[in-house]
């Protein structure tokens, strides 16, 4: 493990290597022109190593609801995307892709109509009554059914219709304006005419300390830190708590912000909720009641649709009837393999610390901190509690022994096991109880680049200069460590 030493602002010693090989691959593949007929789309998969550059040369086109600017070079790396055109267009494509083809059969007509139907709920005089009928849309479906893409489309169209809905990401597997393992919400529709299609994740950026030409949005972030979601057990408790908390924040925002109020919210969910397995319906129920969802869009699963129709058709206590719709999955959805998802996660983490677009290269700092400065909690694992003795410098024996019986979180001292993983800094004091910890929003993330157990010192990669906030931190079991982030 290389020791990065003290903070070296601006040196960017950790800048990722691609620049050298990307020029060669881009040069090797000649630019090609692709003509798209009206209502067809160009689907491509750009690899993580060599970018694909696409320019809209004529006509109009959009990526997941966000319109492309004419004659601007868009660079895609590690993304699986589709450029759709309503009116026909020509594209110039440079670079090599892992796969690319043109498809004519798309569900875009229905997706766009969903947007217009939501627009009717948003606008209109007849719905002015206290915003009660504002669309609060939940998108559910199994993995790789195109949920996030649909959410982006609905958000993109809403922005282009002059709306500013809240977009909520409950999918811990991919972050939105944050790292994987987090849940977040943001108001879209400021400044630029859509989302940032080039950014890792395809949303945009959370604020940085300088100017940015891209799409910048202010998220509120909560840390979940587990790979899977479940309804029971400590993870389930944390997940439910976070959903409740996030819903509270979103609802308060929606209530108070006139501009947001009318537009409602759009909620993305993890694939597990759409898997029709185990407790997934309970979890959908939880989200529906917390966010007062009134439109559920099910993607690519008849079974899910039927179950939800049954479940919500006879709901008494809700004044708002819930409209449940079944949408077909786009033929462009691809099953993303584990390796791809992992590199996507790593890209997101890297982009949180270092930025992605060439115009906004970010400079994180490395700080050496004493063990005593840090107050790190982790989710108590009832099964592992008995094994604490085997963990190298693991769980604080005292706390674990006395509190872990009922406690959700246990305090841990830094150990080598934390190497390369992320710590979430919470908006709550260092010493906090379970209730506070599980509900606090996130200040930011730091990356553990080294742990010196002998000297009781940790080396952290911190996105922001200055002292590391004296706050409670959560060490999650997920996302997995990124070995090559630093050095």
């Amino acid at each position: 493990m290389a020791f990065p030493g003290l903070s070296l602002p601006g040196l960017n010693i950790t800048q990722s290597p691609p620049p050298t090989n990307l020029t060669t691959t881009a040069a090797s593949a000649p630019p090609r022109t692709i003509s798209l007929a009206a209502t067809s789309e160009f689907r491509f998969e750009a690899s993580h190593n060599s970018p694909l550059t696409i320019t809209l040369t004529s006509g109009t086109a959009e990526i997941f609801g966000t319109e492309l600017a004419p004659s601007r070079r868009y660079t895609f790396r590690g993304s699986k995307c589709a450029i759709f055109t309503w009116e026909g267009c020509t594209l110039t494509v440079e670079g090599t892709s892992e796969s690319e083809y043109t498809a004519e059969e798309t569900p875009m007509n229905v997706y766009a109509n969903v947007h217009f139907a939501l627009e009717r709920l948003r606008g209109g005089v007849e719905n002015a009554r206290d915003g009660e009928t504002r669309p609060r849309v939940l998108v559910v479906g199994p993995d790789d059914a195109g949920k996030t893409s649909l959410v982006k489309m609905l958000a993109g169209y809403a922005i282009r219709s002059g709306r500013r809905p809240v977009v909520v990401n409950l999918d811990q597997k991919q972050g939105m304006l944050s790292v994987p393992g987090s849940l977040s919400a943001m108001v879209v529709g400021t400044g630029l005419g859509g989302l940032d299609v080039e950014e890792v994740g395809g949303w945009g950026n959370s604020p940085i300390s300088g100017p940015s030409a891209g799409v910048v949005m202010m998220p509120v972030v909560y840390h979940y830190g587990c790979e899977g979601v479940e309804s029971e057990g400590p993870r389930g408790e944390v997940w439910r708590g976070l959903v409740t908390r996030l819903a509270l924040a979103v609802m308060s925002r929606v209530e108070n912000d006139e501009e947001v109020k009318g537009a409602g919210c759009i909620i993305d969910t993890p694939g597990f909720l759409g898997s029709s397995k185990g407790t997934s319906y309970e979890m959908i129920q939880h989200v529906v009641s917390e966010f007062s969802v009134n439109v559920i869009l099910t993607l690519g699963s008849e079974r899910l649709y039927n179950h939800l129709t049954k479940r919500f058709s006879s709901l008494g206590p809700y004044d708002d009837p819930i409209t449940i719709l079944k949408l077909s999955k786009s033929g462009g959805c691809v099953d993303r393999d584990a390796a791809y998802l992992q590199s996507l996660r790593h890209d997101q983490i890297r982009s949180y610390f270092f930025g992605t677009s060439p115009s906004a290269t970010l400079s994180p700092y490395t700080q050496l901190l004493d063990f005593s400065f840090l107050s790190i909690y982790t989710l108590a694992d009832p099964t592992a509690a008995t094994n604490t003795a085997f963990l190298p410098g693991g769980v604080d024996a005292e706390t674990a022994g006395t509190e872990s019986d009922g406690a959700l979180f246990v305090k841990v001292t830094p150990s080598l096991r934390m190497l390369n993983s992320l710590l979430a800094i919470l908006h709550c004091p260092k010493e906090a109880d379970d209730e506070t910890l599980r509900q606090a929003s996130v200040v930011g993330y730091v990356y553990v680049s080294d742990v010196d157990e002998a000297k009781s010192r940790v080396s952290l990669l911190v996105p922001v200069t200055g002292r590391v906030p004296e706050r409670a931190m959560i060490w999650g079991e997920w996302p997995e460590g990124v070995a090559d982030l630093v050095g």
Partner: protein, 615 residues
């Protein structure tokens, strides 16, 4: 396999048995079953056909809706299986149901001739042969009904055959143009005294011998009336009225060639209609034309019904006033093309399509002007206006009507599966050409209005400033900001660069002086929740567009702490502390300076401003 098939079919049958009303969830449920069991399509189709045949007349329509839903949402192989017996299934049900249901069934049939909405497949739901067969039968059926009624009126209680009162197993259209595999059904043909050749026998099962069927279903046969068949009669009536008003037009303006030619066309059309030699789809075509003409022509004396279609939308905003339209709502473009294109059919006594074309004074060969949205009534309005039938000044001039339709098309999309499938290019245009003024840098669009222009200018300014600032700060160090707390997020308001001029709008700071000062929100989380030491209140975080960072307005660093600038100004005044001194000390606040050294120099600018303002 076979047993499994039977099982699925039995399940399906059970579900069908419960279907007694037009209930969308149940119908979609059945559709889902059908969709998930396409390998048993044959069994399911048979089940459905049997059910439609055997169930009580008032439950037939929901079952037909199931059929409709399956063929439209699942398609093959159901279209194949159900298409084979569709004629039988449809006609048998048709003969037994009440007039209201018949209307609904005719509506269904109409949609079967069109492609499935949304689908790219342009073929109709059922092939033209299947639907035409049914249509021909329907025409005959109506004729027969009328004749039957007339005859019934003549010989009031004439005894009919003594066949048992049960639903017929075979349809009885002996003379139907398509070969009827079942062959003729032997029953006495009552002699007809009408001018019609005796080719349309009265089917036996139309007789009042249907004792078991509720009276509602017998309704059409009960009151003997001399009224002509509904559609042709109505067409003729309308045509008469049109001819009347056209004649008046001609008599008022004898010199008007066009009105005269229209009148001749109308008269010859009447002749064709009277001869009764038209195929059903031709009649429909004629009907369409006549409705369009009558819509434009007749209202001149009453309320203008066609122009309400173009009801002036005063504010062409992004969202059109939602109007609930009856379901199903046919796409206007499809409807118009259906009507406008002469359909190939058996040659009638006159070339109907040519006749219809005469309604449009422009030569038929000349390509019609490229109009963005094909509006059904427009062609006719234009031609009628050209023909002088519509007063020039009275109707909305076309040029003004067109843009209105473009900017505020009707958003009629409902959150139901059928409505979502209809293609609506007009609404898509809202996302594109309705706001033609596009930013070249980020593709954001602005409406082509004064306000839109202003907004775009501000937007471009923002791009320019941001790019300048990026160039300026290219050497300085930029880092990710901390996320804000949930409470701050709830109160946080993003400002839109184009919404208004700086200072007003979302920011509450109105006074130009101390409130204009700002401090970037401290990156240190402990400081980020700091209170103003004077008023003990928290600072409001807002997004600062110029520096692209969250800031606290009305705040300043003094000696390492952050104060509300206004509080501090008041305090300095009260205590007689010189502003210069404060400024000096502020300049010496090294902690603050070091804390923000990495960021833009704006905070210092802010201080200077305050300094100057205070002196």
């Amino acid at each position: 396999m076979a047993s499994h098939s039977a099982e699925v079919a039995a399940d399906f049958r059970d579900a069908l048995q419960d279907l007694k009303i037009n209930s969308r969830p149940e119908i979609s449920n059945l559709t889902v079953i059908a969709k998930e069991n396409t390998e048993h399509a044959q069994a399911i189709s048979r089940e459905l056909e049997n059910h439609i045949r055997l169930t009580r007349p008032e439950w037939k329509l929901p079952a037909l809706y199931v059929l409709d839903s399956i063929v439209k949402n699942v398609g093959t192989p159901y279209t194949v299986y159900l298409g084979r017996n569709l004629f039988r299934t449809f006609m048998e049900a048709y003969t037994l149901v009440d007039p209201g249901t018949r209307k609904a069934m005719e509506g269904l049939l109409k949609t079967w001739k069109l492609p499935v909405p949304e689908s790219l497949d342009t073929r109709p739901v059922f092939s033209a042969e299947v639907t035409r067969e049914i249509e021909n039968a329907l025409i005959k059926f109506r004729t027969v009904t009328i004749q039957h009624q007339q005859q019934q009126a003549r010989n009031q209680r004439q005894p009919y055959g003594q066949l048992p009162a049960r639903p017929p197993q075979q349809p009885q259209y002996r003379e139907s143009p398509t070969p009827n595999p079942q062959g003729p059904y032997g029953y006495p043909i009552p002699p007809q005294k009408t001018t019609e050749p005796p080719r349309s026998p009265v089917p036996r099962y139309l007789s009042p011998a249907h004792q078991g069927i509720p009276s509602a279903s017998r309704q059409p046969y009960l009151p003997p009336s001399t009224a002509p068949p509904p559609d042709i009669g109505r067409i003729k009536d309308t045509l008469k009225q049109i001819i009347l008003s056209a004649t008046m037009e001609v008599s008022q303006r004898p010199a008007d060639e066009r009105a005269r030619s229209l009148l001749t066309t109308l008269l010859s059309l009447q002749k064709v209609l009277e001869s009764g030699s038209l195929a059903p789809d031709q009649i429909r075509q004629v009907e369409g034309e006549i409705q369009r003409i009558s819509g434009a022509l007749l209202p001149r004396t009453s309320t203008p019904s066609v122009p309400t279609h173009f009801a002036p939308a005063p504010a062409p905003t992004q969202s059109a006033p939602p109007v609930a339209l009856p379901f199903p709502f046919p796409p206007p473009a499809a409807a118009s093309s259906q009507r406008a294109t002469p359909q190939p059919s058996q040659p009638p006594t006159m070339d109907l399509s040519q006749l219809l074309r005469q309604f449009n004074p422009t030569p038929a060969s000349a390509p019609s002007q490229a109009r963005p949205p094909p509006q059904p009534a427009n062609d006719l309005l234009a031609s009628l206006r050209a023909a002088g039938l519509l007063g020039g000044g009275r109707a909305t001039p076309e040029p003004s009507a067109q843009p209105q339709l473009q900017t505020a098309p009707l958003n009629d999309v409902k959150l139901d599966p059928v409505s979502l499938k209809i293609s609506r290019p007009n609404l898509i245009r809202l996302l594109y050409s309705a706001r033609p003024d596009q930013c070249r840098e980020c593709a954001r669009r602005f409406p082509a209005t004064e306000e839109g222009k202003k907004r775009k200018t501000r937007h471009l300014d923002w791009h320019f400033k941001t790019n300048m600032r990026i160039a300026d700060t290219s050497k300085s160090v930029i880092s990710r900001s901390w996320y804000i707390d949930e409470r701050e997020w709830i109160d946080y308001r993003e400002s839109d660069d184009t919404s208004s001029d700086k200072g007003s709008g979302s920011s509450k700071a109105k006074k130009p002086d101390p409130k204009d000062q700002y401090v970037p929100v401290p990156t240190d989380a402990s400081l980020a929740n700091a209170h103003c030491p004077i008023c003990q209140e928290k600072f409001d975080a807002q997004w600062h567009e110029e520096t692209q960072q969250p800031v606290w307005f009305d705040a300043m660093h003094i000696g390492g702490r952050i104060y509300h600038a206004s509080c501090y100004a008041e305090l300095s005044k009260a205590s007689g502390m010189g502003a210069g001194g404060a400024g000096g000390r502020a300049g010496g606040s090294n902690i603050a300076a070091s804390n923000t050294a990495r960021s833009t120099p704006d905070p210092i600018l802010g201080k200077r401003k305050w300094h100057a303002g205070a002196e």
